[in-house]
Amino acid sequence: MLDGRSMIRRRAGLRLWLSAGWLGLLLCLALAAPWIAPKDPLAQDLFLGRMPPFWQAGAEPGYLLGTDSLGRDVLSRIIHGARLALLVAVVAGAATCVIGACLGLMAGFLRGWADLVISRMIDIWMAFPPVLFSILLIAVLGPGLWSIIIAIVVIDWTRFARVIRAEAMSQGAMDYVASAHVAGRGRLGTMLREILPNVLPTIVVLLTLEMGIAVIVEAILSFVNLSISSDDPTWGGMIAEGRSSIHQAWWVLVFPLITLFLTVLSFSQLGEGLKDRFDPVLR
Amino acid sequence: MSFLSVRNLTLRLKNGPRLLRRVSLDVAPGEVRGLVGESGAGKSMIGKAILGILPGAVEIAEGEIWLDGTDLLSLPPTERRRRIGATAALIPQDPLTALNPSHRIGPQITDRLVHILGWSRTDATARALDLLAEVHIPDPERVMRNYPHELSGGMRQRILIASAFAAEPKLIVADEPTTALDVTVQKQILRLIAGMQARHQTALLFVTHDLGVVSKVCQRLTVLYSGMVVEDASVTDFFAAPRHAYSAALLAATPKYTDPAAGLLPVPETVTASVRAEVEAFDRAMDSAINERGLADG
């Protein structure tokens, strides 16, 4: 028994470090993009269109991962695309987290009419297809960075609210909350000082998962050309271009796809790894 | 010639303590043997080992289990399971959890006849109806179509008894079959098992912690303490004069229906301490034997 548990922990630790490592690398690339990207991500050169990556015959020196149909450097666009992806992940993730967790805490701890309204809203939200809802919101708000962030917050707050509500309810039923009441602490004080710290691990896990979702939503929106202006490098936009020229230039699709795949996988594995870390049974 | 013969069976938790220590016992054809001990003595483990349903964490360290002339432990797993299914059966402890909630009663009795023994559906159903009548279930045809949750605990235990006898097994292991039932139902079920056993002439291994039950049902008995056999005797001899100090103390601790005023005597500390010393000596001897063998092999 003990052996199995330590093996699970070691494997969990490994995946925690691998995913954190990839995300850290990505963050460095995004921050240093203007200085380390080998080419200007917007520079077009129609004579250098669809050049293959460096190990293939006919590759152009200096363009490591090849070029797209307009002759733009794929590697530089991936590096610059990381900026938008991570920006959306952090800002939209954090905003969703704060709003969703607050509503969830209110519903789960205060109960009463707050719970009634919030739960009913969650039910209604569950009846919307999220991708369609986000596209609809972007159509209403108009494309742009802020529209993407608002759309993610509006759609995904229920992810936090649902889970935190349930957690707050079960925590609220415990004796330590009752004793805080006896000690004369107010409801708001109890919620912030007693309940919040206990649901914090869950919030952190959900936040990590939400950042991965935000990255995907941004990619999907730029894939359907509703993100920011179509010239700016985005992973989703690159994937859309790669999809349409897949039989002529596979690398335009493959490299941004691998980057996106690893990023989404890392956020999710980081979240799962943290969940195991926080789980008192495994600790 | 005994029908079931367990030889030197030693069980242990994987990388953990021993649960049974070289237990041997025999059951002759048509004989009823009681298997008695406190909870944790390992009496249920013997039944589970015979039927091949030990929990995953328990391993057989040594021993043989001869059933109808074959050492079960020498057979490959699939063959062993078939052999057990064809010659032995279990009456489980808790009737409330031992029937599959999503199947009707009928198939739960007849399926093994059809799938393991190759009977026709009609024959199997007829047999099941006979057996349900034999265990005094009113309106067997309706009960065959019921789901378990529609029946009482006593009814379900009767069904499990009928099911155990369905394939005419030569050996039945009854694992505390009355413990989970109401006191009033207990007696009926006990009488039912005894009657069925007598009519079908099945060998029966009756696992219980209740010496009173043993005196009513069994011909021979084995007393276990901490995974060791402390006494193996005929019931008449045992109740007349138990040989081992622990058995005597256990007998004294059993309430007597004839003389409730006598009260309950706990098993004295001195007795349990002496048995525990025996167990520890056994473990030491086993461990040093294993170490020596390990050294010889290495």
Binding site: I124, A127, F128, V264 | N100, P101, I116
Partner: protein, 336 residues
């Protein structure tokens, strides 16, 4: 009796949910800058024309009154007219619905088969390397959304080993004798296996992309539940009856273990249907989702409204169906 009561309760909450959906869809779309009616008229229309059309559509009334008009139309099946195609929205939407339904159901079937197989194999070989490998595969499949699986599948089976079609619903040059839009079912009913094979070859990739995350969820939940069930007394008793381990898992444990998985699969199935929007786009599959994205790009508001409402109806219907199925499959509820 109990089923009836559950049904009534669920119908009430469903109605409330759908009303909420209608309110949100209506007001979100009315926030859109720009007058939707102005977009319906040819360039050069006078202010007077716009005012007349506004009156015709009730746009000169208060928002609440407009909502009332719109909702009563929706309830009677009048979702308005598409701005781009000038056809009734209901007809357009219902024409595309079969394509999306077929895709979703095929994906669900694939997910159940894959997930069930993973769970059963994991249970049969519990504690071995096989189980560990299945766990890792489940974890990765679950972490990555259908959109990315779709792209991976396009690369693997559309480009690297091109054995499946990666765009469209059917090869355009084929002559279709169909009267309904349920191509998959109708080709089978008409015994046109050549067409059926072509349609399946088009649908398989998008359906698999949708199915992979759901298969992983089913695999994990079902295995967890199977493992718990395998320790129950009636399963142990079945082992003494001589059945093989595989039969014990399939016949004794599976049905009881599947019950708790079922409700969760229901919720997950709605997520799968939601995923069709982007997957249809990715595979140029002519279903509702693809139409929705076109409608958004063309700012065809009545069409968007119609599609969103239809999706919401499907979602709530699926949840309702799962609850009822649960009640029917659980013998304790059925006979209580």
């Amino acid at each position: 009796m109990q089923i009836l009561r559950i049904l009534l309760m669920r119908l009430t909450t469903t109605a409330i949910t759908l009303l909420g959906v209608a309110i949100i869809v209506f007001f979100v779309i009315r926030v859109v800058p720009g007058n939707p009616v102005a977009m319906m008229l040819p360039p050069g229309a006078t202010e007077d024309d716009i005012a007349r059309l506004n009156a015709l559509y009730g746009l000169d009334k208060s928002l609440v009154a407009q909502f009332g008009i719109w909702l009563s139309g929706v309830v009677q099946g009048d979702f308005g007219t598409s701005i781009t195609s000038r056809q009734p929205v209901l007809g357009l939407v219902l024409g595309r619905l079969p394509a999306t339904l077929e895709l979703s159901i095929m994906a669900l079937v694939i997910a159940c088969l894959l997930g069930g197989a993973a769970a059963l194999t994991g249970t049969r070989y519990r504690g071995t390397r096989t189980e560990a490998a299945i766990d890792v595969a489940d974890g990765v499949a679950l972490s990555v959304p259908d959109f990315l699986w779709g792209l991976v599948l396009i690369l693997l089976f559309g480009v690297l080993v091109p054995i499946f079609h990666i765009s469209g619903r059917v090869t355009p040059s084929l002559d279709l004798p169909f009267t309904t839009n349920f191509y998959l079912f109708e080709s089978l009913l008409r015994l046109r296996l050549d067409l059926w094979a072509d349609i399946v070859s088009h649908m398989f990739m998008p359906a698999l992309a949708l199915a992979i995350p759901l298969a992983a969820i089913i695999g994990q939940l079902l295995k967890q539940s199977l493992k718990e069930t395998m320790n129950l007394d009636y399963v142990t008793l079945a082992r003494t009856k001589g059945y093989g381990e595989t039969r014990v898992i399939l016949r004794e444990a599976l049905r009881n273990a599947a019950l708790p998985t079922l409700t969760l699969v229901g919720v997950q199935f709605t997520f799968l249907i939601g995923g069709t929007v982007i997957i249809e786009r990715l595979f140029s599959y002519e279903g509702l989702g693809n139409m929705a994205i076109d409608a958004v790009i063309n700012r065809d508001l009545p069409l968007i409204q119609g599609i969103v409402i239809l999706f919401a109806v499907i979602f709530t219907a699926v949840n309702l169906a799962v609850d009822l199925l649960y009640a029917v499959l659980n013998p304790r509820l059925r006979h209580a």
